[in-house]
């Protein structure tokens, strides 16, 4: 009886694993088929002729714009954008969390509430005014402009994460540091920051996936030389009146998702745990 139950339990779990893996499976399988096989065949079947060509094409030969560059140059653009954006938003989030938990002052809750609500605004509404502001400050079409945008709209979440994390950080430590003569900055850099490992990981992963996956801002505010990966991928897969090379599209899609996938799988356990520490408890 117990054994039967156990078996049923595992079957259900594996069934769901299949459900979650299906789209990825579809993408992977079809990214190594020839176009003819895709047109004629079964989406779920394994490739008759295995070909790695679509991956090569997607990476270095596919037509993204005028030049057949593949996704590779845009990969670099994405990195150039993601790294500073993640760094800055995480740093600001950490500072905000620090102030909001350890240097409280009247009205700090309202400020936190304002920041938190910012997580929830639909991004479409900010496109036009944001463009205007970027134009005025001369950052339109630049990578730094994109970084600014991502920093601004990531602040809510990073602050939330750090605030919840630091809230559980004993106040006595701060008091001890004060007694030891450390001021605002040294308390932060010497005591809190070195102990923030888990939440930094969570925040970085969260920000990284969000910024990496962003399409709307990338398309709207990037220029020809700062276009991120997602926009390039979109150019690859949703060209309007041309021939659709599905195998290349899928290969490109997996390529574009690779960094986030790797990050999730490698640090997934840390992420879940950190999420408990930082986010779920509200």
């Amino acid at each position: 009886m117990e054994k039967l139950l156990r078996a049923a339990l595992y079957s259900v779990l594996i069934l769901f694993a299949v459900y979650y893996l299906l789209p990825l499976f579809v993408m992977l399988v079809n990214s190594v088929k020839t176009l003819d096989e895709i047109r004629g065949g079964n989406m779920m079947s394994l490739p008759e002729v295995f070909t790695f060509e679509p991956w090569l094409v997607a990476w270095s030969k596919a037509q993204i714009g005028v030049e057949p560059t593949g996704l590779s140059p845009y990969f670099i653009n994405s990195i150039m954008m993601v790294v500073p954006a993640v760094t800055i938003s995480t740093a600001l989030g950490a500072l905000n969390g620090y102030v909001l938990t350890k240097w409280r002052f009247p009205g700090d809750k309202i400020i936190f509430g304002l920041m938190l609500f910012a997580c929830f605004i639909p991004f479409q509404i900010v496109l036009i005014p944001m463009a205007r502001v970027l134009g005025i400050i001369g950052m339109a079409g630049t990578t730094s402009g994109l970084v600014l945008v991502h920093v601004v709209y990531g602040l809510g979440f990073t602050t939330l994460f750090f605030r919840n994390y630091y809230a559980a950080f004993p106040d006595e430590l701060i008091k001890a540091a004060k007694m030891d003569g450390a001021g605002f900055w040294r308390t932060f850099t010497r005591i809190l920051l070195p102990s923030s490992g888990p939440i930094i990981v969570v925040t970085v992963i969260w920000q990284f996936t969000n910024i990496w996956n962003d399409f709307l801002f990338g398309a709207s505010f990037a220029d020809f030389d700062s276009m991120p990966m997602t926009v390039a991928l979109n150019n690859l897969v949703s060209s309007s009146t041309g021939v659709k090379e599905y195998n290349v599209h899928f290969a490109g899609a997996v390529l574009a998702a690779l960094p986030t996938l790797v990050v999730y799988v490698v640090s997934g356990r840390y992420f879940v745990r950190g999420l408990m520490a930082g986010a779920v408890k509200g």
């Binding site: 694993a17 789209p23 989406m43 920041m115 005014p129 601004v152 602050t159 996956n213 997934g268 356990r269």
Partner: protein
């Protein structure tokens, strides 16, 4: 001095948020009262856009769809997340493998997975076709083509994306329950069923709340999901407020109407989030 520095540190962030979030919300509110069409115009036009908005059949459809989508999405994600979390909490071997599998969809954007889903749901290419090829001829699954059912396919894909995340939240909640309470319930003679229904699930209330807020805001903001999957079709059958707003603002050159729909959306979000924030922040002390 001691009092000033922290505020000084906070001020850049606060400034950014005030300008780029609240400033823009006000700006949008203003636009919704103007006759803006293609580019912003600053001629006030009263509440004309709102009358127009509520006169739009598409808007009403979008709201109705949101209701269907939102309720199903939140309910299914919560139930599924809870069930998976409970199952995964039975000292499962291989939890370390299953958990990231359930969770990874959250890491992918629909720009990436949209095509795969579209294929999978397409009767001619996907599941139905596969089943036919495998010999189950009578199998039909053409919801994505069916005006009445298409919104449910959006639910399927959306559930796919977020339920793992909800699962993680519930798992965190489950792991946080005092093991002595579970032992006490066993001593009291609770069966596994009553253990969960009477003792465990009632204690997960805060997690339900957090999950609800996260899911609700995702539901209201749902955009690329619909665009990738059905692009609002068949017909307008899967239009949601977010796609409505985007298309009126940017492709239909009716920025005023788009802005007014954005204001309504914001109001909806606020009506969910603000009470939550209020209770959360008050409780803290």
């Amino acid at each position: 001095m001691r009092e000033v520095l922290p505020r000084l540190v906070l001020s850049p962030s606060l400034f950014l948020i005030l300008l780029f979030v609240y400033g823009f919300i006000i700006y949008t509110g203003y636009l919704s009262l103007t006759d803006s069409r293609m580019l912003p115009s600053y001629e006030l036009d009263g509440f004309g856009n709102y009358t127009k908005l509520w006169g739009q059949r598409n808007w009403l459809i979008a709201l109705q769809n949101l209701a269907i989508f939102g309720i199903l999405y939140i309910a299914i994600c919560s139930v599924l997340g809870l069930v998976l979390a409970i199952l995964l909490d039975q000292k499962i071997r291989g939890e370390g493998i299953l958990r990231p599998i359930y969770l990874y969809p959250m890491a992918l954007s629909f720009i990436v997975t949209g095509t795969a889903w579209k294929w999978f749901l397409d009767p001619g290419l996907g599941l139905e076709n596969t089943m036919h090829l495998w010999g189950w001829e009578s199998f039909t699954f053409n919801w994505i083509k069916d005006r009445n059912m298409a919104i449910y396919t959006v639910v399927i894909a959306a559930v796919w994306q977020s339920s793992g995340f909800v699962m993680a939240m519930f798992l965190a909640g489950l792991r946080g329950i005092d093991s002595e309470i579970l032992k006490a319930a066993q001593m009291d003679g609770a069966s596994r069923w009553s253990l969960y229904t009477r003792i465990v699930i009632p204690q997960l209330r805060p997690v339900f709340l957090s999950a609800f807020v996260v899911l609700a805001h995702l539901a209201i903001k749902a955009y690329d999901l619909v665009i990738a999957l059905t692009n609002g079709g068949p017909g307008r059958a899967t239009e949601l407020p977010a796609t409505f707003m985007y298309s009126y603002t940017f492709t239909r050159n009716q920025m005023g109407v788009g802005a007014s729909s954005a204001v309504i959306m914001l109001a909806m979000i606020a009506s969910i989030i603000v009470p939550y924030l209020y209770s959360e922040l008050r409780e803290r002390r």
